[in-house]
Structures are given as structure tokens and as C-alpha cells.
Amino acid sequence: MVKRLVVGAHYGIKDWLIQRITAAYMALYTVIFAFAALTLPAMTHEHWQALFSGRLMQLLTFLFFASLCYHAWIGVRDIWMDYIKPLGIRIALHVATALLLIGYLAWVARVLWRL
């Protein structure tokens, strides 16, 4: 007989769902960004900076990077879990990935709200 400890099911469902919601938002933002960037009068610092100086664009862009970081956290963690078996190395990689992504997000926030 297989002894299985039955505890609350659906681990991972939440992450699975978040990965998809963030993916949908990133896809939407990509279209908005591509349109905004391609219709820029000219690729100069002035126009480029103006694009990201609007409050709405700053919010949408920050949300994009926040989605990206959460999405990449789930995705990269899944990749480590598939290929890296030794527990110590795996945990170290998980921690490094999470810290890097949090750092990136803080970096983007600083870039955006310095404008």
C-alpha cells in the first residue's frame, strides 16, 4: 500500500495561476509599449524620456517589471527544480534567484521614479 499523507491539495495552483496572469499582463503591456515606441516622433533622449515621464506609463511599466519578476521567479525556480537535484545547491540557487529579482525590481523603480 502506498502511504500518502493527505494534506491540502493544490500546491502550485496559485503559482501556476500567477504565472499565467502575469504572462497575460506582460503580453498586453508589450503591445502598448511597442505601439508607443514605434510611434515616437524620433528616437531622441527627449522623446524617450518623455514617454516614461507620464504617471500612467510609469505605473504600467512598473507593473510590467513587477509581473516579470514574479513570473520569472516561478519559471526559473521550476527550471532549477527540474535539473538541480542536490538540495543545498538548489536552495542556494533559489535564494540567489529571488534576491536578484527583488534587486532588479528596486533598480527599475529607482530608474522610473527618478524621472
Partner: protein, 128 residues
Amino acid sequence: MMQTQVKKRPKFLDLREIRLPLPGIVSILHRISGGGLFLFLPFLIYLFDLSLTSPETFATYQAIVGHWFVKLILLGLLWAYLHHFCAGIRFLLLDLHKGVELEPARQSARVVLMVSLALTVILGVWLW
């Protein structure tokens, strides 16, 4: 006496022998592109930072992305993003049970590969 018979299953682990079906290719490229984008993320945010901060850093940004080798890397990342984007949308549709039968799944895999390559070429030529 019980005889355990070791079945000779075909194992295709020889890289020269492996033939992934089209949806399998799309899938592994989705993982590779996602991982690649993650690895290059600091470089991309660095460029984003330079491009926005001041006219001087914008000039530095332009000098960096003007180099042919950097352009080549960015072209690769452009493909990675476009493939991940197109394949990602395909996966989202599959999750909604759209196009899960064999033929439509093969078709959409082909479309994903071709559309992301075509967009990479168009945008790449235009931006180079």
C-alpha cells in the same frame, strides 16, 4: 521460476538521433528563451537605466547598442522575447483548451516558430 525479461525499449538519447516533434521544439525553446532572458535581465535593465537617466547616459547607451557585437546579442534577445511571447500565448490558449488536438497543435507550433522568426527579421532589419 519467474523470468524477468528486460524489455529492449528504444532509447533515443543520442543527440544526433533525437527527433523532437514541432510542439516539442517550441516547448524547449520556450524554456531556453525564458532562461536566457532571465540571465540577460541585468544587462537589459542597465541599458534601460542609461537610456533614461540623462542626455549624457543616453549617448553612452547609444554607443553601446551601436556596437555590432552588442547588436547581435540584442538580436538574439529580441528573438528570445518574441518566441517566448508567441509560444507563451499559445500555451495560454492550450490551457484554455483551445487547439489541443494533434493537428491544430502542430499547426500552431509551426505558426509560433515562423511568426517569431519573421518578426525578429523585420524588427531586426529595421532597428539594426
